[in-house]
């Protein structure tokens, strides 16, 4: 149908949206006015245009009244443009003969004067009527999707997502920057509220990942480059040298025993610095892959070149140690990606009043996880840095959370893990345990019951934000102890509570390099630095980049059950895309009028999606439709005006402006 030549017959619909619009805009008046405009064949008001009968109305009218353009004045196009395009198509028209006017977010919700709001609605409607006359029939293109998936981050989120997709038969690349997968969860002793042993539920999944035929596991590796678009991403992965040939190492650890350092001497990262390791080490017994690593910062041979290399002797015929290893790179093609890069814990030194780093017996919660762990640096014996068995322990909640001076958000997991640690510490030491809290937040299955259990166990709860932890003693009982000063806001006075050990329930923060990762994957971040989901309720694992999903702690603080649920959701989103086989691309892309392009190349560096290339043979710019997101930057910048964007052509935009200005 060449609608530009045949007579224009526009159908106009104004939606009440219940009271959302009708309370502020006189919809009947808008419909009456639009009905008087030229080319408007039909003008109606209706209570809910998005409802089935509303959509049916459009379809029927197209058929019965031979409409060839449709305009709906209702909510934001973000919500229902897709719906009404569908209705238009179902009625037998090209969906791009439809145009939408926002009289809710842009009008009724932000105005109070009914008369003025009605006038504004009429002006906006008139603009749309003028514009839609110039709309053209456009075609939605389909792009094939590569079936392989990349998962970035090997914590519980990445592990669960990778397993889900691998079990569905997809080929998954799992990239982790640490020498082993497992993430934060591998460091935990027990998990709340069920007190499952964290390792017992995690490590079987880790080794499954390591052995799964559909999973390519790359540890000690990082993504360095991402090119392409949904369905067709090209990703470069850097493998850092671990000075061990992964395929040759059998994890016998004889090299560790043979190292010239007879006793472990260097800070053990996995144990939060509470234990020691050698330059050649395996992070923890169930590390996956079960392969050692050599730390170039501490290895005598890598640092000085002067070492007897007893490790190489011990490895003997396996020849798994290779001091000449360099960085290597792999380039892979995938169709979809899941970013699950996790969080970091708050640096407790940023709250100097709590004395972390000053008083040896002040610990972070993660340190205590290692301290109570049977495979931890003390074999599970709770013994303080100065060699004491604590008789009293204070746990301070909300360190680096709900605090305007540090982070304003609630970290969600600290109340629960603090109570878990309270219980574990009580079991291990029999000490009196004091929890200092602002509010106890237990929003999860079985969480409130866990809190009640602690109250029954005789764990003390004192409501108040702690003012300071100090070694300043005022009474003989306080001598040699750490005193916690706090206003007990339930009792209504300031208390001093002497304890042997202080645990700081540090909050969760975005990773140090979250901004770099954000740029790499073209994600968005909220003000705090957490990765932003496309919609907080209805698209919680999608991002603003198609084909890239997020899961777990990189999106915001969350506990293990929520993280696993999100990872499953992200996996399902990837699988849905892959199994559909193709993606539809919005046709609002830009194109170059080749005969008018002067080949000045000024548009090429401006494109944020690197969608423009230069065709050397014809000497003109060429836009890759699959990459173009329709931002319009090149259109505005082209000196010869030879770039045009679908749905935003000059006559469309100018006629819309004309429509607004013509209304008086």
């Amino acid at each position: 149908m060449n609608s530009n030549r045949e007579e224009l017959r526009i159908g106009f619909y104004v939606c009440h949206c219940g009271h959302n619009i009708a309370a502020t805009v006189d919809c009947a008046e808008v419909a009456r006015y639009v009905g008087t405009l030229p080319h408007v064949a039909l003008s109606r008001e209706y209570k809910y245009m998005c409802s089935d009968p509303g959509q049916e109305l459009i379809q029927q009218d197209i058929r019965e009244h031979k409409l060839n353009r449709v305009v709906v004045a209702s909510c934001s196009p973000l919500l229902h443009e897709h719906t009404f395009r569908g209705a238009t198509e179902a009625g037998g028209l090209n969906p791009f003969y439809f145009h939408m006017v926002n009289i809710r977010e842009h009008n009724s919700w932000v105005h109070t004067d009914r008369k003025e709001a009605t006038e504004k609605a009429k002006a906006l409607a008139q603009a749309a009527i003028e514009r839609v006359a110039h709309h053209k029939a456009l075609e939605v293109k389909r792009v094939k999707i590569h079936a392989d998936v990349l998962v970035v981050g090997g914590g519980i989120a990445g592990i669960h997502a990778a397993m889900t997709m691998a079990n569905a038969g997809k080929k998954v690349y799992l990239v982790e920057r640490e020498p082993t997968i497992g993430g934060h969860m591998a460091k935990f002793d027990k998990t709340f509220p069920t007190l499952d042993c964290a390792a017992c539920i995690l490590t079987p999944k880790m080794s499954e990942v390591g052995n799964h035929p559909n999973i390519t596991l790359w540890t000690y590796s990082e993504v360095t480059k991402v090119d392409g678009y949904v369905g067709n991403y090209k990703v470069t992965v850097k493998h850092k040298p671990r000075y061990i040939v992964e395929d040759a190492c059998v994890g016998c650890m004889e090299c560790i025993d043979a190292c010239v350092y007879k006793t472990p001497k260097f800070e053990d990262e996995f144990n939060e610095g509470l234990g020691k390791r050698k330059p050649v080490f395996i992070p923890f017994p169930q590390a996956t892959p079960q392969v050692v690593i050599i730390d170039p910062e501490t290895c005598l041979n890598l640092k000085t070149g002067k070492c007897k290399k007893t490790c190489v002797e011990a490895c003997a015929d396996r020849m798994a140690i290779d001091f000449t290893q360099q960085e290597t790179f792999d380039e892979i093609e995938v169709g979809t990606m899941i970013v699950a890069t996790g969080f970091k814990t708050f640096d407790a030194k940023r709250v100097p009043a709590y004395g972390y780093g000053v008083y040896p017996n002040v610990y972070t919660a993660l340190e205590v996880e290692r301290l109570v762990n049977a495979s931890g640096p003390t074999g599970g014996e709770v013994i303080t840095r100065d060699g004491r068995h604590p008789k009293s322990i204070g746990i301070i909640h909300c360190v680096g959370s709900r605090d305007k001076k540090t982070n304003v958000w609630c970290s969600r997991v600290c109340c629960m893990y603090s109570m878990k640690l309270a219980l574990l510490l009580k079991e291990h030491t029999g000490a009196e345990i004091y929890n200092f809290y602002i509010d106890i937040r237990t929003p999860g299955k079985g969480y409130e019951e866990f809190y009640n259990k602690l109250l029954d166990e005789g764990v003390h709860f004192i409501r108040g934000r702690v003012g300071e932890v100090t070694d300043w003693a005022m009474t003989p009982e306080e001598e040699g102890k750490l005193t916690i000063r706090v206003e007990d806001t339930l009792a209504g006075y300031v208390r001093r509570i002497p304890v042997d050990m202080v645990v700081l329930a540090t909050g969760l923060e975005p990773q140090q390099d979250a901004q770099d990762v954000r740029r790499l994957f073209n994600l968005s971040c909220g003000g705090e630095g957490w990765f932003l989901e496309r919609h907080p309720k209805l698209a919680p694992v999608s991002t603003f980049t198609d084909g890239i999903f997020i899961a777990g702690g990189c999106q915001g603080p969350r506990d293990i059950p929520d993280t696993v649920a999100q990872a499953g959701a992200a996996a399902a989103e990837c699988l849905a895309l892959i199994d559909k086989g193709y993606v539809e691309q919005e046709p609002n892309t830009a194109f170059v009028l080749a005969e008018e392009c002067s080949g000045c190349k000024s548009c090429i560096p401006l494109c944020p999606y690197t969608a423009i290339a230069f065709d050397e043979s014809s000497k003109v710019a060429v836009i890759n439709e699959a990459l173009c997101k329709g931002c319009g930057t090149c259109v505005a910048s082209c000196p010869s005006g030879s770039i045009v964007q679908n749905l935003f052509e000059d006559d469309e935009v100018f006629s819309e402006i004309k429509g607004v200005l013509a209304y008086d």
Binding site: P352, A353, G355, E468, T470, D471, W472
Partner: protein, 302 residues
């Protein structure tokens, strides 16, 4: 480096020892201090809590004077003056209504306050303008073996921590170390000295004084070093009351500027050490190889 020196009432009265030691020390370091001509009361914290607008006008007059006299940064050694002048500046920035009130009042006497003259504390100037290296060069009698508990009090770090950390300030620590002293690490650096409670609710005020003296002494301090006339007054002047309430904890409290003077080898009589109720006596346990002079301790005891 030129500064408009704003002494405030304390440095001309109870806190004279502060002025009498700070001025020679600054002169020794080549700092040009020009006392603000016709300065007036800063209003202190008391007036602020009675009538903020009038208190702001009062303090702003001093800012206007500094603006008139060349717009050099104001050096305000007294913690209360330092706080009130900064707070006034903050109010003028933050609250246009307050600014209008102040402008009206100043206009009436033909003055204006527009140039945002900086208000600086001596510790800030010493560390950031002069620098520890320049200070170290002037040290001729290092305070070797002297154990000092640095005491900052509240007003120079709260609520405006302009040049140091709010919870754990370190500028005086670094300064004292540069003078060769041993700095006592203690958690009460910024804890309240009792303020005016020593006069209004003595039991509570004396308790706070006692806590500070007792803790510093327990950690082996030979003296407390302070930056605030009111802190010095409370910590120095209530020893008999402390003795009655808790027992004896004799410990002298000196201004950091007095310790600087000692380390620079300025004559004791220029440092007003004799003005304190609890006299401060100190001689290096092992004197540095500098030519030994007859001890001037007598004037200290005077």
């Amino acid at each position: 480096m030129k500064y408009s020196y704003f002494p405030g009432c304390s440095l001309k009265g109870l806190g004279r020892a502060y002025e009498e030691s700070l001025l020679p020390v600054m002169k020794h370091l080549g700092v040009d201090l020009q006392e603000l001509d016709d300065w007036n009361c800063c209003g202190a914290t008391a007036y602020m809590s009675v009538d903020e607008a009038k208190a702001c006008v009062l303090a702003s007059r001093n800012l206007a004077l500094a603006e008139r006299d060349g717009n050099h940064p104001i050096l305000a050694p007294c913690s209360a003056c330092y706080l009130v002048l900064n707070k006034t500046k903050h109010y003028l920035h933050q609250y246009p209504k307050m600014k209008a009130t102040v402008d009206r009042a100043l206009n009436a006497v033909g003055m204006k306050c527009e140039k945002d003259v900086p208000v600086r504390h001596p510790l800030d100037v010493l560390i950031n303008d002069i620098g520890l290296d320049a200070i170290k060069m002037k040290v001729t009698k290092p305070l070797q073996g002297l154990k000092v508990a640095p005491y900052y009090g509240c007003q120079i770090v709260r609520p405006y921590a302009t040049f140091d950390d709010q919870a754990n300030p370190t500028t005086m620590d670094r300064l004292l170390e540069a003078l060769g002293a041993t700095v006592i690490r203690w958690p009460l650096k910024t804890k309240c000295c009792g303020g005016s409670l020593t006069g209004t609710i003595p039991e509570a005020g004396i308790r706070m004084v006692y806590i500070l003296l007792n803790e510093a002494k327990k950690r082996g301090a030979d003296c407390l070093a302070t930056v605030c006339p009111l802190c010095q007054f409370n910590l120095d002047g209530y020893h008999s009351a402390v003795r009655r309430q808790y027992g004896d904890v004799l410990l002298p409290t000196v201004y950091f500027s007095q310790l600087m003077g000692l380390a620079f080898g300025l004559p004791d009589r220029d440092l007003a050490l004799n003005r304190a109720a609890i006299p401060f006596r100190w001689r290096p346990s092992s004197p540095p190889p500098a030519p030994a002079k007859p001890p001037a301790a007598k004037s200290v005891a005077a």
